[in-house]
């Protein structure tokens, strides 16, 4: 009998696939549906203090091997999100509250609210590449990252995950800063800053001009980041970026990820992707005489 259960950072998931933040996770009912479809955990849309409409359309460009999005962190704000969380936590998987803010104090405030709403953990979005004053703008500064993680750790008892950007040459310094701040896990990576231009219109397609590239197009980047972080830090790493199949997930786990997040594949492959990936993982374990998916973690480093 093989097991897909993974335990890390104080979390226990029935399988290592998680719904990535920003995908089908703005409402309680949609998060429940993703959990019921097989996601071992669901991460909420990144929520801030106030309601935000996000950017006008176009907010998405569809490519052959991924998407470029600039949604602009839309969300109803932390007060209104209580109702969505109440619904989401009724689902079969732990709910992880993703947060965005500009200061350590605001992150701590939001984390306390998420904890009260029943979140199993919080994920700090220090990596969104398309919202001014938030995300990547603070997540490339190791000192800022350290103080945010430290402040949030002081404020809550639930595990604190930090989602990092690949858009920096200081990735490992930022990863170490998470660890120094007392962070429980690293999520790597957020989208790669990118853009698309309409030749006919002679202008950028996205309203925000630039956005974040996701999907298979960035799998090689995400893998490299997870591989390098695994060698540099001791905290668990959750891999994300272009995962659509069990093999993709196994690559990330062999690179050092204890769990993986799936986002773009929900659009490209459908919500059945969680079941497909976990079925493939079980088959891999059986074919290779392994008992637990945890045995795969870090194999590529040996």
């Amino acid at each position: 009998m093989t097991s897909l259960t993974v335990t890390f950072a104080g979390l226990s998931l029935r399988n290592p696939t998680m719904l990535a933040s920003g995908i089908m996770d703005e409402t309680g009912a949609s998060m429940r549906r993703m959990a019921e479809a097989g996601a071992g955990a669901v991460v909420t849309k990144s929520i801030g203090r106030e309601a935000r409409d996000g950017y006008p359309n176009p907010t998405l460009v569809e490519l052959d091997d991924g998407y470029i999005n600039a949604m602009g962190l839309p969300g109803p704000g932390i007060d209104a999100f209580e109702e969505e969380m109440a619904e989401a936590v009724k689902g079969p998987s732990p709910v992880i509250g993703s947060l965005f803010a500009a200061t350590p104090d605001d992150f701590a405030f939001l984390a306390q609210r998420m904890q009260r709403y029943g979140a199993a953990a919080v994920e700090l979005n220090m990596s969104c590449p398309h919202a001014k004053g938030y995300g990547m703008e603070i997540g490339v500064d190791p000192d800022m990252v350290r103080s945010i993680v430290r402040e949030v750790k002081r404020a809550v008892d639930i595990p604190v995950l930090s989602k990092l950007t690949p858009n920096t040459h200081r990735l490992l310094e930022v990863g170490k800063a998470v660890e120094e701040g007392g962070g429980d896990a690293i999520v790597a990576v957020n989208t790669v800053k990118a853009m698309a231009i309409s030749v006919d219109a002679r202008r950028p397609v996205l309203y925000n001009r630039t956005g974040g590239l996701s999907g298979p197009a960035i799998k090689g980047v995400g893998l490299r980041c997870v591989y390098e972080l695994y060698a540099a830090v001791d905290v668990p790493i959750i891999g994300v970026g272009g995962i659509e199949t069990a093999d993709d997930a196994l690559e990330y786990m062999m690179a050092g990820a204890v769990a993986v997040q799936i986002g773009s594949a929900v659009g490209r492959k459908g919500i059945g992707v969680f079941g497909q990936v976990t079925n493939g993982m079980t088959k891999y374990l059986e074919a290779n005489g392994m008992n637990s998916i945890g045995e795969v973690v870090g194999l590529a480093h040996e």
Partner: protein, 255 residues
């Protein structure tokens, strides 16, 4: 690479209602496309024509639709898709019920059915100026009836009342409906009373159109993937249908 499409034809369909035709292939009846007017906005639009020369039919109600309505032959727009789940067209006798510009996705169903003796049509609008596609419908159906709220054309009353009278008069196997959500709510009730199965095409604020962002979900179902066409039993289970909608921030507002 040509990433925009040229508007090949513009037709004034009714008062403030315009059809734009462009080359775009693919799609099944009831599916939609995301239409980009560079520099203005990108919005979801049902296809009112499918085939080599596809078409969308736009009612001028806001900034994006005003921009679309002002386009002329030779102008260019971005079109991505087609997206979503369209009409399931069963064998048997059908009734199409359209409110205003809601006739658009029904026309692609009528084209696909192309069997005038097996499908009837009820077209309703506030007044005669907003009755659209009646001539085209008559080529595709032997029984096309019209209602207006003010009685300026056809029978006076709602299109749901008209559809209910047709269901009392004839036996149908399926109703296909599209129009304002309040109309669809009453249409579902009328179909239930008459014991006729029903599919309806819903509309929600939509951002990505591709099943990712969750802005268009109704009770967890995506209008852009599982919809826009839903079966009666799916809609009856929706706590948000006919009652509330989500705003750009994802907050809830009463319909």
């Amino acid at each position: 690479m040509s990433d925009l499409v040229r508007i090949e034809e513009v037709a004034e369909q009714g008062r403030g209602i315009t059809t734009l035709r462009f080359r775009f292939s693919g799609g099944t009846p009831g599916q939609f496309v995301m239409v980009w007017v560079p520099g203005v906005d990108e919005v979801p639009m049902s296809l009112s024509y499918q085939g080599e020369l596809a078409g969308i039919t736009v009612k001028n109600i806001g900034e994006a639709t005003a921009a679309l309505s002002s386009l002329r032959e030779g102008d260019r727009i971005g079109v991505r898709g087609p997206y979503g789940t369209g009409w399931m067209i069963p064998k048997g006798r059908l009734l199409c019920v359209g409110g205003g510009v809601g006739m658009a996705p029904l026309m692609s169903a009528l084209d696909a059915i192309n069997e005038p003796s097996s499908v009837d049509v009820a077209i309703g609008a506030r007044d005669a100026g907003e009755i659209i596609f009646d001539e085209r419908a008559k080529e595709l159906s032997q029984d096309v009836r019209i209602s207006t709220d003010d009685g300026s054309r056809g029978v006076k009353g709602t299109v749901v009342a008209l559809a209910a009278s047709m269901m009392a008069e004839k036996k149908y196997d399926m109703v296909l409906g599209c129009g304002p959500e309040i109309m669809l709510r009453y249409l579902l009730a009328a179909c239930k009373d008459a014991g006729v199965r029903c599919q309806v095409s819903l509309e929600r604020l939509m951002k990505c159109g591709a099943g990712l962002c969750g802005s268009c979900v109704v009770d967890g179902l995506r209008v852009c993937v599982e919809g826009p066409v839903f079966f009666d039993e799916q809609v009856e289970g929706m706590s948000e249908f006919g009652r509330c909608k989500r705003t750009a921030s994802g907050g809830m507002t009463r319909a």
